[in-house]
Amino acid sequence: MRNLKEALTMRFEYKNKAINSKENKKLYNVLLFEKIFQKSLGLIGIIIVIILISIFITLTVTSIPSINHLGVKFLYGKAWNPVTDEYGALPFLIGTLLTSLLALIISTPFALSTAIFLGEYYPKGLVSNIFKNIIELLASIPSVIYGFWGMVILVPIVRNLELKLHVLPYGVGILTSSVILSIMIMPYAVSLSRQVISMVPPALKEGAYSLGATRFEVIRKIIIPYIRSGLFAAILLALGRALGETMAVTMLIGNSHYIPKSIFSPGNTMASVIANEFTEATGSVYLSVLIEMGLLLFVVTTLINILGRQIIKRFILH
């Protein structure tokens, strides 16, 4: 213990000597550079933290007029009338939740099976490569093209369905947006859950196989219980993505300012209202209300993201 301390002090003295006595100017420069280098790298890191914090502060400060004007009524008010400065975001909150949850319900079975297919049945080889590439491609198609495609292909299909069901045939609406959203978030959910599935220790699976379990039994009784929390996180992160998705939804949801009566009726999500009305918002309160909606989106998606990532990180550390 004492030796260590001595050694440390000696090293410290040596370093100080080298730095202070400028005899060894080269070493001094090197040490100085090292410090500058590390500090300037750290500075870039700090800038990223600052960007994020200032995003939050900007959103909060600019939505103060709206918070003052509306208070909590913003969350439960149903009327949306910029002329009389009445703003209730409830229809959009409901629209956002409805489309996102519906999209999750539609896409989860597909995402889960694809993840099992890629993670368990065909983890390597040609088949797996083909499907992996297809999923990646789905992820890289721009939102606006999904929206355009939905307008041209999906809307007539939904309209026919609505005619058959004897509801008002809008074509656009909650259901149409949810279907497109489910296609858009599927690749994300697949890649996350595939990652999670590949984390299952082979020894566990092998143990079950050696006891005579079939593959189905291994998946149901070993893999799924093991990855439950990871799957939950994957679905949560997919939800976070669905909540903020803008363009495709804006093009397909029908832009109605009323609370949707059924999944066939048109509605609006928070993101689509912002996209539609932000450039037209003239009054300062109007603009501030839209920004408050952005703040809400930011806070919710951030919380979901942090939570989801923490769960996955903990899962991986296990």
Binding site: E34, Q38, L41, G42, G45, I46, I48, V49, I51, I55, T58, L59, P109, F110, A111, S113, T114, F117, Y121, F131, I134, I135, L137, L138, S140, I141, P142, S143, V144, I145, Y146, G147, F148, M151, V152, I183, M186, T214, R215, F216, E217, G240, G244, E245, T246, M247, M251, A271, I274, A275, F278, L290, I291, G294, L297, F298, T301, T302, N305, R309
Partner: protein, 281 residues
């Protein structure tokens, strides 16, 4: 065979077929979308399509030159900002991962990745468009640059972390200072990750519309002035797809086709780069 055993095998087979069926079904949308875009897009594009401006309603023909130039400029400036910044941040995260600050930076990058793109549009509107009093291509580039950062940072960090520690130790043991080790040894070895991350992030923002709605705004004419509103491919698709005119829809299909092909091309380039450079380690 035992009846119970048979049932179990039967269940196993049924489950597997179910999985395969659902997986196949989930590839259907991609095939449909690609098929439709190619079918509609091919007929829309020709030489005129690339060298002309959009025509007013009622006139046949017209092209998307303004959007092509606009997209090019906006993405170029965004890359100019994001790539050096992202690469350095990734370097910091991988080299000083034990710092307390690095933990928070990593968290911020994760959060930044999850921010809805429309919110970034609002932010850049408040930061740049409102104070300067006009929509500009530059503000659009900055919005896209923020979106590009997380993928570049992540990809750089992950590649640099893959480099074996022995190489770093070898360099240090020769008396090479740490910063020189990073600049001369680690960074060149991790170049593949930086480049493929950058290209991937370009392909991701090339189709982004939402952050440009309130920043670059769109412009029916050609402009190379980055302080003026500028069009881009996704903005043009959005505007023309929402219009009721067939001619404009046709332009939008053509633009979608060009955009998809561009993104496909960038993705393939990334794949090739990743495969070729992976052998190094």
């Amino acid at each position: 065979m035992d009846k119970l055993l048979k049932l179990r095998f039967y269940k196993d087979k049924l489950f597997k077929s179910g999985i395969i069926l659902l997986t196949l079904l989930s590839t259907v949308p991609l095939l449909l979308i690609l098929f439709y875009i190619v079918k509609q897009g091919i007929t829309a594009i020709n030489w005129d399509f690339f060298i002309n401006l959009p025509k007013p309603v009622g006139e046949k023909g017209g092209g998307i030159l303004n959007a092509l130039i606009g997209s090019g400029i906006i993405i170029f400036i965004a890359s100019l900002i994001a790539i050096p910044f992202g690469a350095i941040a990734g370097l910091y995260l991988s080299e000083y991962s034990r710092d307390k600050l690095a933990y928070w930076v990593g968290l911020c990058v994760d959060v930044l990745q999850g921010i809805p793109s429309i919110v970034l549009g609002i932010i850049i509107y408040l930061w740049i468009v409102k104070p300067t009093g006009r929509f500009s291509a530059l503000s659009g580039s900055i919005a896209l640059a923020i979106m590009m950062l997380p993928p570049i940072i992540k990809s750089t960090e992950e590649t640099l972390k893959l480099i074996p520690g022995t190489i770093k130790e070898a360099s240090l043991s020769l008396g090479v200072p740490y910063y020189k080790t990073i600049l001369r040894i680690i960074l060149p070895m991790g170049l593949s990750g930086i480049i493929s991350g950058s290209i991937l992030s370009i392909s991701r923002v090339a189709g982004e519309t939402a952050p440009l709605l309130f920043t670059a705004f769109g412009n029916p004419f050609i402009t190379t002035n980055i302080l003026k509103p500028m069009s881009s491919l996704p903005l043009l698709i959005f505007n023309y797809a929402s219009s009721p005119y067939d001619e404009w829809h046709k332009l939008a299909w053509g633009a979608s086709f060009v955009l998809i092909m561009l993104i496909l091309f960038l993705n393939i380039v990334t794949k090739i780069l990743e495969r070729r450079w992976k052998i190094q380690f």
